[in-house]
């Protein structure tokens, strides 16, 4: 919480994007989350990503459910569309919105409670349907809004603020998504925007469901010694995959093509995700290898971050269901509602 709203003045050298907007133009209301909450950093990374992608704010829709994480949608792109639904049901809302108007960019913000407990069935089926949605899961391992009980993502052996130890197995959203067939799976950390922003941009441009699990420490209930989702623990056990660069479509690619182990993946809109060269020969297009890699590092107590898996060749919700290419809002009334004769014809098929 802060006592005042952000003053409406900017730094004189603050750059503008192709739309003539500054980062400040992508902000939303003042956050009422705790001071130091990781979610506010995720918000800032989102603001940066939208600004860099020159997204017109009125062409985006922000969807969320319930929880500290779900408040995030209020804090960026104040001029965008949005829907704040009931607990765990954001994926359904996003699916419906996307089905009706495929012309907008969809951003769903959820948390480990909203996604891995009450809303896990919803999450699973949004993955299965490959809804074209950036799904940011702000993961802090606790129910912060109800004063810090362990959530479904709490690691075995991690302790609560009062000292209780968690003995139940955690649900890892990354492994879940990989096993359910998600076509874009990544893990980030709220304290590393240099990594998070390009991943968010790639996720926004991905043609399908993009899950980004973001370790986002709860500074009030899970930032102590004994926590495995604190700022310090995350930094100490951080294992970064090859850093990615996101090259948007409109920019000419002048640097030489990926060489010596680096890899480039073309997105459906012509943008490119480029993995920088690193020592190991990690292949982000191999689902089984990605799963194994994450598991192997988990055994060693390491948190693997980066763009873990990407598949640009699959079909999204609309392609799978062979829907109209035009958003319903842009269809003429006659096409959208063809009249009683057409209805009777349709009904006859079922008799």
């Amino acid at each position: 919480m802060t006592s005042i709203a952000k003053p409406p003045v900017t730094h004189p050298s603050l750059p503008k994007n192709a739309l003539g907007l500054t980062r400040r133009d992508y902000e939303g209301a003042m956050s009422t989350l705790c001071a130091g909450c990781g979610h506010d950093s995720v918000t800032a990374a989102l603001v940066q990503a939208f600004w860099e992608l020159d997204v017109p704010p009125h062409r985006a829709a922000k969807m969320s459910g319930i929880g500290c994480s779900s408040k995030t949608t209020a804090y960026f792109m104040r001029q965008s569309h949005g829907f704040n639904g009931v607990h765990g049901r954001m994926p359904s809302l996003a699916t419906g919105a996307n089905a009706a108007n495929r012309g907008l960019m969809y951003i769903g913000i959820s948390g480990d409670g909203d996604s891995l407990s009450i809303g896990m069935g919803q999450l699973s089926h949004a993955i299965r349907r490959n809804v074209n949605l950036l799904y940011v899961l702000e993961n802090n391992g606790v129910y912060g809004l109800t004063k810090g009980q362990f959530s479904a993502s709490a690691d075995i052996g991690s302790t609560s603020k009062k000292g209780d130890t968690n003995d139940q197995r955690p649900i890892d959203p990354v492994l879940l998504a990989l096993s359910l067939g998600a076509t874009f799976v990544a893990r980030g950390f709220s304290g590393d925007k240099a990594q998070l922003v390009p991943i968010l941009k790639a996720g926004l441009r991905h043609n399908g469901f993009a899950l980004i699990d973001v370790i986002s420490p709860c500074v009030s209930f899970n930032d102590h010694v004994g926590s495995t989702k604190s700022y310090r623990y995350t930094r100490e056990h951080y294992e970064e995959l090859a850093p990615v660069d996101f090259v948007p479509m409109r920019r000419e690619i002048t640097a030489p093509e990926a060489s010596g182990g680096a890899m480039s993946i073309a997105m459906h809109d012509g943008s490119v995700v480029r993995f920088r060269k690193t020592g190991d020969d990690y292949d982000p297009t191999n689902r089984d290898a990605a799963y194994a890699h994450v598991r192997r590092h988990q055994e060693r107590g390491e948190i693997v971050t980066g763009l873990l898996y990407i598949d640009e060749k699959t079909q999204d919700l609309h392609a799978l269901n062979r829907t109209t290419a035009t958003p319903l809002v842009d269809l003429p009334y006659e096409a959208l509602c063809p009249g009683n004769a057409a209805l009777q014809e349709l009904m006859a098929e079922y008799r």
């Binding site: 802060t2 003053p7 900017t10 730094h11 050298s13 001071a35 506010d40 310090r232």
Partner: protein, 592 residues
């Protein structure tokens, strides 16, 4: 890179742009807060500690604080610092009982002070409370120096001047009016422990071109203003030319308007960006219907049958050659006039200082050699200040010279090396009063700068003493004080508490914070911040290495609003808002 040393008072002082820019380092944000609280007398007294003449300066100061003001870099217009000072001076209660006590028993040291202008008065103001006996020699019948004789009453009412000057004289200064010092040697022979020369730059510059001596209708600006002050001159011919475009020229042209001048022109050699007059004085003159003519160089006075009828000028065109302005004559013109006033500068004149008394003069400029830090001449015990030291400056510089010279005189009389200056100190106290509650108003007020109300023209021209500026209304004052960004409430960072959550970086409205890896040079670091720090005049704060990653917290001080959001969003209180107070050294005080 080395972490910024915020334990040195200079670091945070420099953040307070107005106070840093003020020659006397007036604590501007604090006095503005006191006005906001309605504590006008406290505000006045805080001013007085630094600038001695708040009522006078609140009307006449050259305001170096205002171009420096951070608000100007934020929304284009600085806080009206100077005129808020006037608010405190106008609305205060009687301050007689708050003036320093003057010891009955003197310390046995006698100081001669030459001239009764702002520098000399400041010396007396600082030394009288320490028990010195000050004997002040003034060639004219009243005290105040150029503040009285050169600044017209429509800008500075006599009552304001009298009160602030008398506050000092009434400390027991032995003032000797109508007593010009004719010989420094003779004065020194009277056995003073120290002598301060604050006699100003009293000689207006001459313009010795053809026709100058063929008419009596050419006046020297400062002498003419003095004559008007004493009532020796009460009228002027209708067509007046003022040569020169400094602040004296502005006073001359506006005074002419009040004495019968109907067609008053100010003639400048150069174009507007190079004028010496303050922009607001130019505006005020133009508001009164005075025409300012650019790029004209005087060539001759046109005198017919012993009567001045005009002046011939060369019309100039200026071009920049190798970074210097060069002029070319593109024609000549005659501008008809009845009277000319020369306001092209002032010179020092020391015919009364003997050249064989161990007081060295610079042969090139015929000016005494004066030490920049101690204000002492080459003869120990003789000090200079104000315009007498290095030529014409302004009132607020004269005041600061007076303070510094008083320190030297005190040292000299107490047997301490004059070069041994007492150090400045500081107080730094948290402004935190509770959860998101601060001891200052941290919200940003988007109001535009207040416009000073002026007396209507007809009334103004009816009498030379009618004050033009009416002061701010209570509503204007209430808004203007909230425009101040409280730059003295510093963002104080404690590296070891930081958990690098980025909350401060994300919330800062002006993107002045960055957490980044160490830099090689400041220039390199400036380029890769949240928003590039392109104003090298402003400091870059760099922290010690942060505990978790070893990176640095970097802050560009340039447009920080001091809104405190970084501290409100900080979960560990690594950022705190702390009130900085500069403790300035003065004669007989300061931090040891």
């Amino acid at each position: 890179m080395d972490p910024s040393d915020v334990s040195n008072p200079r670091y945070y002082h420099k953040v307070v742009d107005c106070q840093w820019g003020c020659p006397a380092h007036t604590n501007v944000p604090e006095y503005i807060r006191l006005i906001a609280q309605g504590r006008y007398t406290d505000s006045y007294m805080l001013n007085r500690v630094s600038n001695v003449f708040p009522g006078i300066l609140g009307r006449t100061c050259d305001r170096p604080c205002e171009p420096a003001c951070r608000r100007g870099r934020v929304d284009g217009k600085p806080v009206a610092i100077c005129r808020l000072k006037r608010v405190a001076a106008d609305l205060r209660d009687d301050i007689k009982d708050r003036l320093p006590a003057i010891p009955e028993k003197k310390n046995g040291k006698r100081v001669a002070v030459i001239g009764a202008g702002p520098a000399s008065l400041t010396v007396a103001n600082d030394l009288m409370p320490l028990g010195y006996q000050c004997v002040m020699y003034e060639k004219l019948p009243r005290a105040g120096g150029l503040m009285r004789y050169n600044i017209p009453a429509f800008r500075l009412p006599a009552a304001v001047l009298d009160e602030e000057v008398n506050n000092i004289l009434d400390m027991g200064v032995d003032i000797r009016f109508n007593t010009p010092v004719q010989s420094l040697k003779a004065l020194l022979d009277e056995g003073y422990d120290a002598v301060f020369v604050g006699s100003g730059a009293p000689k207006g510059k001459e313009l010795d071109i053809p026709g100058r001596w063929d008419t009596d209708q050419v006046h020297i600006g400062i002498e003419w203003l003095g004559s008007v002050h004493f009532g020796h001159i009460e009228k002027i011919e209708p067509r007046v030319l003022i040569i020169g475009v400094g602040n004296t020229a502005m006073d001359c042209c506006r005074t002419s308007k009040r004495l019968g001048g109907t067609d008053v022109k100010v003639i400048a050699r150069r174009s507007r960006p190079y004028f010496k007059a303050s922009p607001w004085e130019l505006e005020d003159a133009e508001e009164e219907g005075i025409e300012i003519v650019e790029n004209h160089a005087p060539k001759r006075f046109v005198v017919e049958n012993g009567t001045l009828v005009g002046m011939e000028f060369e019309q100039l065109e200026w071009t920049e050659v190798d970074g210097r302005q060069k002029s070319k004559v593109i024609g000549t013109t005659i501008i008809p006039c009845d009277t000319v006033i020369l306001a092209i500068g002032q010179d020092n004149a020391f015919p009364w200082i003997e050249r064989d008394i161990g007081l060295a003069f610079d042969p090139k400029w015929d000016m005494p050699i004066v030490d920049k830090a101690t204000f002492q001449s080459t003869r120990p015990g003789v000090f200079f200040g104000g315009d007498a030291a290095w030529g014409p400056e302004n009132i607020i510089w004269a005041v600061e010279h007076g303070h510094q010279a008083a320190i030297s005189i005190h040292n000299h009389c107490q047997g301490i090396d004059v070069a041994q200056r007492p150090a400045d100190g500081m107080n730094l106290v948290s402004a935190k009063m509770g959860m998101q509650a601060w001891s200052y108003h941290n919200d940003y007020n988007p109001s535009p700068r207040a416009q000073m109300q002026h007396e209507e023209l007809v009334k103004r021209f009816s009498n030379v003493s009618v004050e033009v500026e009416l002061g701010f209304t209570p509503e204007q004052t209430a808004r203007e004080v909230q425009r101040c960004l409280n730059c003295d409430i510093e963002t104080h960072f404690t590296s070891k508490l930081c958990i690098e959550c980025d909350a401060c970086v994300d919330v800062c409205p002006v993107n002045c914070l960055t957490i980044t890896h160490d830099g090689t040079t400041e220039a390199e670091l400036r380029g890769r911040l949240s928003a590039p720090a392109l104003n090298p005049e402003q400091a870059l704060y760099t922290s010690a290495a942060l505990p978790q990653t070893g990176r640095l917290m970097v802050k560009d001080e340039d447009v920080c609003l001091h809104c405190g959001l970084c501290a409100e969003r900080c979960p560990t209180a690594a950022w705190d808002m702390q009130k900085f107070e500069l403790i300035r050294a003065h004669a007989g005080g300061g931090v040891a």
